[in-house]
Symmetry: D2
Subunit: 338 residues, 4 copies
């Protein structure tokens, strides 16, 4: 860390800060500049010392130098992590494709969706059984019945089942049926939930919070890794900004940025990232060109009959065409799709 | 709702949309404009119909007219709600003041803090026993031991204890010790948790998510109200924006805006809202002038020794001066402080 | 427009609003709902009537239905506009590539840059002669001398010269040397400047303001079109958000969104959009996959010697590799690059 | 500056960075940490060196230590600047109040407005003669005729005239009529305009750009100061965020923050800051409690007849009541209002 002193800080004040740095088990190095003095604090700064130092008299601000996460970092594990669940592979030259409806609504709906997305080339099936809904008056999902329908769809198609778990006490139940446990954007900092899924042996698809910084996103992954589960995929699903013509703003630069910082695979969700079905195909293609390790796409047999997220769901025909476009881009990028 | 059709939508397409509106139990009214046709859908639109209509062929967008929340709305209950817990009153001409450290760290720390803030005029004591921390490597709180220390501080001072609960399974334990259950910003959309605290008889202090819209904030309150608990206070604690000179951006216009929309009292958190102790006193005064029903302020006996949030905590002396300033502004606003 | 009345608005108040709508030359249609009454105002709403109606007693809000721009809209001109300047083509299946340094620094620098980018496949040369700089103490550009150097580079290479003009009085001078006049993000709403370039016969590259909405962006284009110049290309260069790991957040969904709304070609600037050279190649590829009509990329013979924007500039070798990657993606997308 | 090296940077690479630092006229100090090496660069860093260093091989990022502005800083001039124009005083214990319509529309309108706001206690009169409008189809102002009407209103009332100037070539004309030249938010980084007003002897009211950082805001002021004009007031008018229930988000913490950083007075614009007349009175009171040196408020004799910004304009009666509220808060804060 670099502790920047106020201009008027006296030599004694600087000295006290340096002593505090040393007392925290770090090593201090005082640098007297022309206008400001700074105190470099050398050592492992990931222990909350930043706030302690920031509250000392005479301190203007504290600038961290090291990334706050460890196990998730590329430095801890230079080679990329490749994750597999049944036919689904994320990373290592594979762009896994997870597709399916927002919510599981009925046996017919989920079986039709599963067959359609498999035929188009998907290797994972998404579908919500437990649904986090902004309004208490909206459809909240079929719950365990939905999980059973997902399992039946896997039985027939071989697709890996990806579904959300919303609260720690549901983790054992959802893990019984699902191949991949999804942590939704609203729960990215639900730490008990992160810990609970960290204690399972399932792959975790961790969605970025809608206003999470990259450090916060990677620290959320770190909670899962720290709890013992190394199978974590990061999912960029768009951030909240002043833009309102799309539901969220989808920053595809997250893909190369995360690849620089972490060994974990990066999945893009263009459905939530835009909120508009007409923008999804282009964003699927762009995500692959950006280097994504996976896609998760909402596909519904009849979007206008969907109980949730119909406006951002592709119909099966559009999804097939999107997959053809994606295949051409994947070939150009020399990666395997599906 | 207003369904805006695409320019090229044919009469048949418009007719199908109108039929769909009617089939949802709403009443359709087709308005043919010079450039566009719109279909007004009259009736209770709070059932997720918006997305259904948005996904129909020929539809450009759907504009909701009614607020999505009901019980929280001013229309449902015109007179303001006044909440009380021990000596703490929020609303109805009272600006309740909740103060104390970010985390409970030791018996001496919390007892000293409680005495200091009480003497300065606070009526509620804040202090975290279960701490949501961005990093798995940071201090996570004293847990039940912390709750016991808070209860002991209440015993001596009579201050209402305000403390966070992070997961549904902890609700009974925390409710046993606390007078007010705080839902943190990261958990504003943790729906199982909202439901669990909605089933208690404690006052709930619901913090706004860092990028939650006002509708989402009021819908989160609606979850608690809908579960049966009418004692909900809304806490504006700053939103995430491009600004980085403060930790968050504190929009005080939330106070009059929320007073227009809802009967629930509004509390301001200038500590998280700015992240800098030096900015807190002005923002306390400004919050009262803006019409806030309460303040929640971080005060630590020795901020530079705090285990969390030291940089935004006031020391007792500064808090006393802040309370004197606030008293003058409260007098000007003709409200009671404390 | 849809005028939403407050719940408590009386029949007389609604009637007065309807009369006001009619008096503005629009046609009113009162729709009485279960909870609210709305007044539809039919006709051309692009005359600032929205604010007038919003300020009437009893009005809660006014929702516009029509896009506020006309000439720029896809409805006004369904077929895409294709723009050409020398060898540079934007749109109509061509992805034009404009490359070069942030600032023109010297004859050797700009000539080397021009040769390098041409050889790699660019058809336009960027380079700033008049530089808008955040600090008054930073290098402000070579001004007319820079323009002359750009013209000399065009002379040798045949590349179209793209350079920024910052103030109306400089427009004639810059137009004398440049093939494409760039309006910078900070000047997107400098209306006198928009009008001045609208009166030239040069192609205009209009950069999106860093927090401009899409409607504001298209209205800025409308100022130029309205002044008589139909050669406007829109440039998405990233928006300002809470994200700080990149300089700006680059929303590639702008490409398909703008293609739905307007006939004008869309260019992507991944250099400003990310601020980091290491992220630029992926974003170039992704932009093409997203359907962009052009790229504008910062390339400097020696980035570490650049007088501005070195951190986001590619060196010639990296640019050549990026162009090879882009060529493969362009082939996949069945468009021509360069 | 602190140059943070990549983990894998070799000793030679670090050494080259240190040499580059020295060659720029700064002094290097290499600090070898446990995980990273950093190079402190000591000296005046305000010369664009940050980008140069950031583009060197082996460099991960560069962290500036010093504020980028000089003359505007509190360190350059510790005592607060007090600005006066006729009866209007900003700073030094005076909260100046500027009020009036968005646009000058007619003689009757501006004279009525001037008399009303003067009687209520304002000391400055606002009114736009040159109007920056998002749409080319909106009312653009009465131009010189408007300036003459403003001067006539000053003649009768003695109020200082505050009006916007939009382009460098209009500066002499506007300065002839106005006491205070306003730079609008959209022009905060129109550097030629900043320079032009910096060469006048008028007070300048510089509005913050809607997504400008505080450093950018103060650097814009620095352009004016650097051109020779020391009479600069900073105006916070709200920033663009994801919030849409208000037109902009008004961060009142800007007031104490700017007071820490700069000696220039700080004015708050609650009209643009909220966009809703009903929220303006509370925000006026809150601004004074936050320590603002001035207010600028939109007041129109008949808001529903306003040619622009009617929805955020107070009527004279509401303005009078607001001023009474403000007077009470000013008394509590021990400052003079008006």
């Amino acid at each position: 860390m670099i502790v920047v002193m106020k201009k008027e800080a006296s030599t004694e004040t600087v000295s006290m800060v340096a002593q505090k740095v040393d007392s925290l088990g770090l090593r201090s190095n005082v640098i007297v500049g022309e206008e400001r003095t700074v105190v470099a604090a050398i050592g492992d700064e990931r222990n909350g010392f930043q706030e302690t130092l920031a509250s000392l008299p005479g301190v203007e601000k504290v600038v961290p130098i090291l990334a706050p996460y460890k196990v998730a970092s590329r430095e801890a594990k230079p080679e990329p992590t490749v994750l597999k669940a049944l036919r689904l592979t994320l990373g290592g030259g594979h762009v896994g494709v997870i597709a399916g409806p927002c919510s599981v609504e009925s046996e017919e709906q989920i079986m039709t969706a599963a067959r359609e997305v498999k035929q188009a080339g998907a290797t994972g099936l998404r579908g919500g059984a437990f649904k986090p809904r902004t309004s208490p008056y909206a459809f909240q999902g079929l719950k365990e019945e939905g999980l059973k329908l997902l399992a039946a769809a896997r039985e027939e198609t071989g697709l890996a089942v990806v579904t959300e778990v919303m609260t720690p006490s549901d983790v054992p139940l959802v893990a019984e049926y699902a191949d991949v446990l999804q942590i939704g954007a609203r729960n990215m900092q639900n730490y008990q939930l992160l810990q609970a899924v960290g204690e399972t042996d399932r792959m975790i698809l961790l969605k970025r919070g809608m206003s999470a910084t990259m450090d916060e996103f990677l620290l959320a992954a770190e909670y899962i890794l720290d709890a013992g589960n190394q199978q974590v995929a990061l999912c960029e699903r768009g951030v909240r900004t002043f833009e309102s013509h799309t539901r969220f703003t989808l920053p595809l630069a997250s893909v190369p940025y995360l690849h620089e910082r972490t060994h974990l695979p990066v999945v893009i969700d263009p459905s939530h990232g835009t909120g508009k079905a007409s923008l999804v195909p282009s964003m699927c293609a762009a995500a692959i060109a950006a280097g994504a390790d996976g896609l998760i796409v909402e596909v519904h047999p009849q979007p206008s009959e969907a109980m949730s997220d119909g406006a951002q769901s592709l119909d099966p025909q559009t999804f097939r065409e999107t997959m053809k476009l994606c295949q051409r881009v994947a070939d150009a990028m020399q990666v395997e799709l599906g």
